[in-house]
């Protein structure tokens, strides 16, 4: 559905995205993780056309039009001075949605005559989401927006998100949403580092490839263990191993523990910081 070819972007001579080549298919749910400044938000902006790449291009296939693309940016950008009512009229008209379901607004008890800028962060996020839902989106891009939303609203958001996916088979690309509630949903994970994707795997595959071992302070660490990241305290040392292979279980006499997605991604990000320091 989306093909990205040789995408590059620089900001003030510093490379932010470097030669990205990737494809996204219909109905996929992709999670993009990475350290702050890796280029994730810039990548999303290039996908939506908010930023123009320095070189390379983004192709939308299968007749995907901008009207069916939803995007919630990290700044929750919108015309703030409009009232909710005006905003809804505006959005539905411009995107030609043909209708608007205000059940979400009712659920949140939002006053349609209040201005967008008066909404709390969580309310605004859901308001933008409700606008996007009216578009019956085929593609949804979510920047790191759920962190600032309270648990209750987050729950509502997820319900509606899953509904949307079930209804429209939406392709979702979400940045950094590593909450346990969402962990089970993405089937594909990308880790971005220095403007490029260092990991592009199915979630299940990644879970098989990253394991953790815990050692006491005195236990020896084998040299040829591929350690991605380690966390050491006086009492325990945690080593995150990548790429893990099943033969390592017998090869090294160590207990390899499974990790959940959040921890896996944390280890990649941690690994980046380690490399940076070196």
């Amino acid at each position: 559905m989306i093909e990205v070819k040789d995408l590059s972007f620089k900001f003030k001579k510093k490379p932010v995205l470097e030669n990205i080549n990737i494809r996204f298919g219909e109905g996929e749910f992709i999670l993009i993780a990475g350290n702050n400044g890796a280029g994730k938000s810039t990548f999303l902006r290039c996908l939506t056309g908010v930023l123009s790449p320095l070189s390379g291009s983004v192709y939308f296939k299968d007749g995907l039009s901008k009207r069916r693309i939803g995007y919630i940016p990290d700044g929750l950008g919108f015309f703030e001075n409009l009232t909710l009512k005006t905003a809804i009229n505006f959005h539905t008209r411009v995107f030609r949605t043909g209708g608007f379901d205000d059940s979400l607004l009712k659920e949140l008890d939002l006053d349609p005559d209040s201005k967008v800028k008066t909404l709390s962060v969580g309310e605004r996020t859901l308001f933008l989401f409700s606008l996007i839902l009216a578009q019956k989106p085929r593609l949804l891009l979510l920047d790191e927006i759920l962190h600032a939303v309270d648990a209750y609203l987050r729950d509502i958001f997820l319900d509606r998100l899953l509904d949307m996916i079930a209804q429209y088979n939406t392709t979702v690309i979400a940045v950094n949403h590593t909450f346990t509630e969402i962990e089970k949903i993405p089937e594909r994970v990308l880790v971005m580092e220095n403007g490029g994707f260092i990991i592009d795997e199915k979630t299940d595959t990644l879970r098989e490839k990253v394991k953790k071992i815990e050692l006491g302070p005195d236990e020896p660490v084998p040299d040829d263990l591929p350690v991605l990241f380690k966390k050491e305290t006086p009492y325990i040392r945690e080593y995150y191993v990548y790429p893990f292979e099943e033969k390592m279980r017998t090869g090294f006499d160590l207990e390899f523990r499974d990790l959940n997605l959040a921890d896996i991604l944390k280890s990649f990000i941690g690994g980046y910081y380690v490399k940076k320091r070196v």
Binding site: T48, F78, V94
Partner: protein, 625 residues
Amino acid sequence: MLRKEFNEVLKQSLFFIVLTVTIPFGLEIVLGGPSISYFELFFTQYHLGLLIFALFLGNSLFLWDRKQRAADYLLLLPYSRLRLLGIKVLPRLTAAVLFYLVFLLLYRGGGEAFTLASVFSFTYVYFSLFIIALSLSLSMENYIMMAVVTLSAMAAFLGMIYLIPTLLSQWLYGTDIGLSLEYLLFLRLGFGKLLLYFIGIVVGLLFPFIAAFIFAFKKTGIHPVSRFNKRYFKVFFPLLAVGIILSALIVSTLFTPRHKTYYLADKHRLVEWDSLALRVYDENDVEEITHASFRWNNRVLIEAGDSLYSREYNFPEDSTDFLRLDLKTKSVETFYKLEGRNYSGFTGPWLFKNTIAIVDGYPKDPDKELHLIDIRTKEVKKIKFHQTSGGNVRLFGADEVDGKRFWLVDSKWKFRHRVSRLWENGEKEELGTSRKFPCYINGILMTYSEDKATLTKLTAKGMEGARMVKTVTVGEGFIFHSYQVYDLHKPPLKQTIGAIYDQNNESRKFFIMDFDTLELREMKVINDRIEQSARRDPELKFYVSRRTPDEYYYLEYKWKNRGLDFREIYAFDNNELTLLKKFPPLEKNGKMYNSRSGIIVHEPGKLRVYAFPDLKELKFKKLKS
């Protein structure tokens, strides 16, 4: 989205205009009343406020969308970049135009400072400022810097418009024009040509701003600013270079002094002028006049002594200027000025002894004013008079009776000429009507009815005035020739000439009338010749002209290039025709100029000057054809 933008712009505009106009206006009133009328004060503030408004309107194109937050939403709307730009620009352009139209409607009330020329200047400055401000609306983060840069760019732009013609004319022709653009242009070229030219330059120099902006926005969007600017300048500078070259080309083609016009004045002095300078040649020398006050039209209206008089509309000052070229001192001065274009009179001013008379007033306006200017002292006397019917007014004679002067006024209304006499105390006498142009020679007024010419002697004072002398039945088409009027203050003429015109308005039969007997007698020799020549060449036209009271000339000519093409010129004396000169047909782009002093043949590459009375060729050493 268009609607939203319109709303925002509307609010912005009203707020802004109210701010920039009422505050200074209110302050002035509070601080103690303006020295000009309230309306004039308001209007001055308004038009200044408009300029600031244009700057603001342009720079604020993306005022609320510049922050990343708002830009995120704006740029993901399902509009192409170009369409987005259009949606943003259209409401602002509309506002700019609407407020400008208000200005246009009001300008006449703005007082003396607002002539057509200043309106024109304001227009192109206002819209250029708006466009330049628009094109820089994404180039800077800081709005104050943006305004400063916009104003600087505007200054540079205006400088270029001024400099291009000035430098070019200096470089190409070595002349220093050094005038403001519209002053220069409006006075030399036709209005239509000038407009095209000006639009060409302005558009050519503004186009780089517009194109660069559109290109940079299409390729970059709003962020990052540094990349936007890079792309902007990548397009801007080459286009600017092209624009400058194009403008220079336009200027040079229009400034090429292609059309030289000539006039042979008395004492063998040749006057030549083109769009840049005027030159006076005598046998051995030439003197060039190019200073700023010189703008010479194509026609010499009066030659008197060493002075040539002409008239031209002064666009920047919105006045009709009468110019005088002094052939002795080789200088040009603005001899007299009338306000506006309301100079009336389709044959020019009138010279009587040392007074030049000019009628001031619109053709449709019955209230007119006669201005009498003493050419020695420059004293002016104005006499108001009333024209009962509208129409063009011309002076066709003047005389002095018993120490009192009168001026003869011909007012043409539909197919009648109304003849009246205006005394200098303001009294106006109606002297009847005439079917054709009346004329006045030797104290005798000649008017016409169907087939008769009526000769009336105009005598003394008051309303008694005229006394009919004779009615001459000549036949249809007869008219006395009323040229050479400037000599009327010399000794009275003994004879005058009249001619019968046929249906093609060509003179066919000439008559001479003695002022003693008032008898008309045919100029047989000439009329026979006409018959002969007409048979030989049906396109020929004929004329008898008198240069001095004693010199008559018979001319055979054709029309060519909207001018005369003389073929044969004879001297007529004592009933005998003597051939003075036979001219070959004029070449393709040739032109002939004739004046009282002689005939000039101007053909591409050569110029020949022949002086009366014998049409011998004159040579001017310094003249290059």
